[in-house]
Amino acid sequence: MTPNPYLWLIPVLPLAGAAINGFFGRHSSKKAISTIALVFCGAAFLLALKIAFGFSSAAAPYYFDFAHWIRAGNFQADFSFYLDQLSLVMLLVVTGVGFLIHIYSVGYMWEDDGYYRFMSYLNLFMFFMLTLVLAKNYLLMFIGWEGVGLASYLLIGYWFTKDSAASAGKKAFIVNRIGDFGFLIALFLIIQHFGSLDFTRVFAAAQALPPETAGTGLLTSIGLLLMVGAAGKSAQIPLYVWLPDAMEGPTPVSALIHAATMVTAGVYMVARSHVIFERAPGAMTVVAVIGTLTALFAATIGIAQTDIKKVLAYSTISQLGYMFMACGVAAFSSGIFHLMTHAFFKGLLFLAAGSVIHGIGGEQDMRKMGGLRVYMPWTFLTMTIATFAIAGIPPLAGFFSKDEILWMAYSSPHGSWVFWLIGVVTAFITSFYMFRLWFMTFFGDYRGTAAHEEMGHSAGGHGSRAGAPAPHGHGHGEPHESPWVMLGPLVILAVLSFVGGWVGINHRFDLFLSPVFRSHAAFVQLKALTTQEVAQREAADQLELAFTGISVAVGLLGLYLAWLLYHKRLDLPEKIAASLGSLYRAVANKYYVDELYAVLFVNPIVEGSTAILWKGMDQGMIDATVNNGADSARHVSDNLRHMQSGNLRSYAGWVAAGGAVVIAYMIWMGVR
């Protein structure tokens, strides 16, 4: 444990930026707003880089106690920050990708009226996310956890005058609340049994407990409840429904919060709590099953979506499922590895999609795109890299992390061939829908112009409906390439999406994280091997190679199928859709999950609240009590008011009557 007095500055810098822009931004010029937002966010990034270069595994973990917070009896929770290998990875991803997206936002949001508000919210998000990542105890982590939820709500509903955006924000907030409920109960259990929320103390106490057998006990309950929280924040079954709707927010927000950073907070939290999960195999299995099912489920929905951002949203849910699958088979470092590469390529995909949307005037429907590689070559190039990366084509980033997860899903002591098989199928579907998006957007002929003329584009109808920044000063006859302030981040992220996976070669990423996780792979590497074990390892290596071949093959198969259906034989998709009939409709309608939830949960709650709580309790009892009380008081006063007539003789009469009453009373008492 080494103190590092700079740690607290990293989250506080963006907070300062948010405060300055939030309080004074309304009257500042856009240049000043951009400068402040970028300087404070960039300073946090530079500081993170400085700390990363000074990072030494021997000295780790670093910590810094900023201030006392809660001291009650033996319980204490402070504003303390903590930096180990795990939080360092998260720190660099959050500040790095976050800073790039800040730059991109300057170009993307420049025309928007609420520019200062947007920049302030983005900085605020950075503050909470960094608090979450750097917290030394669960309570401070929870502050960040709730804070990113708040920032997410504010940014989803950023165009709050639009009804769908406002309700999408509410939906995200409420669904997250369900998850937070589980998280909170887990924290209460931890306080109850370990008397502390500090990571080091909780994990030391949990380490002393024996692993729990099948599905019972304290650690299993804590693990399951933490997973409820993670499922809410990271959009896993059954709480994933908010993320597709969250695409109502501006595209940089989708990239930063709903792809690269915030939604991975659940993965980070599970990985952070690995000590608890490792001793609760039942909870681990649940994590793996939820992750695997979510990966497959969301990927299948992604096939039939036509909104470019919705495809990416379901893809994000699916990739998050991979990360949970990795965590569920105790391959935490693989999960974090995928988290990092995913932040690069999914952030890039969203930003490139935003560039496409920006370039054709706010249209998000892929059926109205096509042929855009001619109009926007840089966007096409970067998007291509990202698409190949997510499809798992070597040597791009996604290949390494996804392959590692699939291998661990099979070979880990907690793994099973079922996880692997579903993972491979999902990889195939992922590759298919990503290349479908790629072909539909960039190849063929541009299908948007006719639609534009029909719609009478001058009204900006597309933009306000689709949710992208509508008010462009210029007309949109031709798609055009985005400005360099937007392309710059795309190029940097493209480079990262290309080379980002190379840190995983020879398990180097695993080894770097091994002090945190003491992972399986690291132990295998570090201990001296007997001949028998060497033979086993060689056999395993060959199997791993075969598995790698399979996952690359399914990636290429997806590419071929997408090419066949969406480039070569454009008539085929409709025929297939028609022949599948109700199955296709179910997929296109997201398996009717939203409708199911509406029938099962939303409507009963809304109707029950209306009938019982609102009309019955609030209006019938609480309002009635107050109103009747006030009414009767007014009636009495109305009558008593007539005593105060201003008539002197009536006053005298009252005095005389009062005197008479007193005298009568005294006489009566005297008689008795």
């Binding site: 201003g646 002197l648 003789r649 005298a652 009469g653 005389a656």
Partner: protein, 106 residues
Amino acid sequence: MIPLSCYLVLSGILFVSGVLGFLIKRNIITIFMSIELMLNGVNLSFVAFAAHWHMLGNVHALSGQIFVFFVMVVAAAEAAVGLAIIIAVYRTRETLNVDQVNLLKL
């Protein structure tokens, strides 16, 4: 020797006529005189009681008499202030009818 009860009855009659006058009359001067009547009705009972106790042998029972002087002094002061107020009211409203003087502000 006139018994105490006679004094008290007279005192009561005086007080009640004062009260009735106060309630019935509209003219402020008359009301003012009714107040004096009530005060003097009370004074009469004070004096009557004082004399009664003195006669029963309590030579120091003078508080009733002394109280009457207090009441007289206060009544004189009140008369001075009250008449001044009446003059002021008459100057501003040109009436002495209390039923028409039911607002403090003009």
